[in-house]
Amino acid sequence: MFILNPQSGTPIYRQLIDQVRRMVASGQLAAGTALPSVRELAVEHAVNPMTISKAYSLLETEGVLERQRGKPMTVAVQDRAQVPRTQRLQQLGTQIDHLVLSARQLELTPEDLAKAIRKKWSEE
């Protein structure tokens, strides 16, 4: 369900937060969907359970997930209009970092990048 890379410079809880946010934003995870338990996810990926519960708690604080006593963590109903634009932009997070890094290495300008993004955007 999630792709976690423990050897990345991005901490595991950050990777999980980014992926859940994106999947919720894109509708891949619909409101009411139950997420795997902390234990299931930790054992499956052989990672520390605290890093998973840290991600879940932060996502709960953000309102992306909700917890009901004795039940699994579920995706909360999202009111996308109420999520500020800046916060939605932030959800692209490390993807932008990677893109900019690659563009710089190829000695492209921000304008080149913007043009390419616009072109791709209008295709879809």
């Binding site: 050897q7 901490p11 234990r39 052989a46 520390n48 359970p49 890093t51 840290k54 890094l101």
Partner: protein, 293 residues
């Protein structure tokens, strides 16, 4: 907050003239999984032995469940599981006989759990231990340390002889143990990727001193490698110096490594360093190497 399971203050250890550990302050609390990293000879085994009360400190204090570790009571010892670097198995016993013997020491021994692991890990428990491979011996030692569900599990290089599949099974067992918030794990390993999966707290021991200790996520968020082109290097270095107060390590001309102080805000570092800099976030292995360069 509850008392820590392990608490050491100003700990030092010397063997004759040779100083092995110095100035160590550290705690282990319920729920912690501590990964102990260090080069060979850094003092990892000595530190673990002192935490467990197997060896007295030369100076400072080492408390185990609130009492001096060397004077640990039988009750305190029953709350510990230890996998030493060199196992203490009895060669002429079969695996089953050995586990039966260990079981008699612990009131909370879970025989079904031990049997389950013996089967899952493919241990030939009816054969005598002398005929075991190094990997089999290591697995048996781990089961002997796990089956009484200790509050504090200490493992010294537990996976050195295990193949990747056996290591993964072992890691999953430790994850299972760590889901119980009353339990704590301290383990040393040269296999940094295992430490990176399992630990939420990292101790880096260098020449007998704790070079870094704290949360793994914080560590990853506190170390960056900055790459610059040769012509931009002086500017980037100067800007980095302004943002990063201390312990910024200068390496070669266009590779800079910075370690963040607790109060520094790095949220807009990219902007502050300007276009000449590329920031790379590091995995634990790279961080470990940089801390030793």
């Amino acid at each position: 907050m509850n008392d820590p399971y392990v608490s050491v203050k100003g700990l030092a250890k010397s063997f004759g003239e040779k100083r092995v550990l110095a100035g160590i302050d550290a705690t282990v609390r319920a729920g912690d999984v501590v990964g102990l990293l260090g080069l060979n000879g850094a003092g990892k085994t000595t530190l673990l032995e002192i935490l467990l009360g197997l060896s007295p400190p030369s100076a400072g204090s080492a408390l185990l469940f609130g009492n001096p570790a060397v004077a640990a009571t039988a009750t305190a010892k029953a709350r510990i599981g230890f996998v030493p670097q060199n196992d203490e198995l009895i060669g002429l016993f079969t695996g089953n006989q050995y586990l039966d013997l260990i079981a008699t020491f612990y009131p909370d021994w879970d025989a079904r759990f031990a049997e389950k692991l013996v089967a899952e890990w493919g241990i030939e428990a009816r054969k005598i231990i002398l005929g075991y491979s190094v990997g089999q011996r290591q697995k048996l030692s781990i089961i002997a340390a796990l089956a009484h569900k200790p509050d504090l599990l200490v493992l010294d290089e537990p996976v050195a002889s295990l193949d990747p599949l056996a290591r993964r099974q072992f890691l999953q067992q430790i994850v299972e143990a760590a889901t119980d918030e009353r339990r704590a794990v301290v383990f040393s390993s040269h296999i940094v990727s295992d430490v990176e999966r399992l630990a939420n707290v990292i101790w880096v021991l260098k020449q007998g001193q704790l070079l870094w200790q704290g949360d793994l996520d914080t560590l990853k968020e506190s170390v960056i490698r900055v790459h610059t082109r040769a012509d931009a290097a002086p500017t980037v270095r100067a800007r980095l110096r302004r943002v990063v107060a201390e312990r910024s390590v200068d390496l070669s001309g266009h590779k800079l490594v910075a370690l963040r102080a607790p109060d520094e805000d790095w949220s807009d570092l990219e902007q502050q360093l300007g276009a000449g800099a590329q920031i790379e976030r590091l995995g634990l292995e790279d961080i470990f190497v940089e801390l030793h360069s």
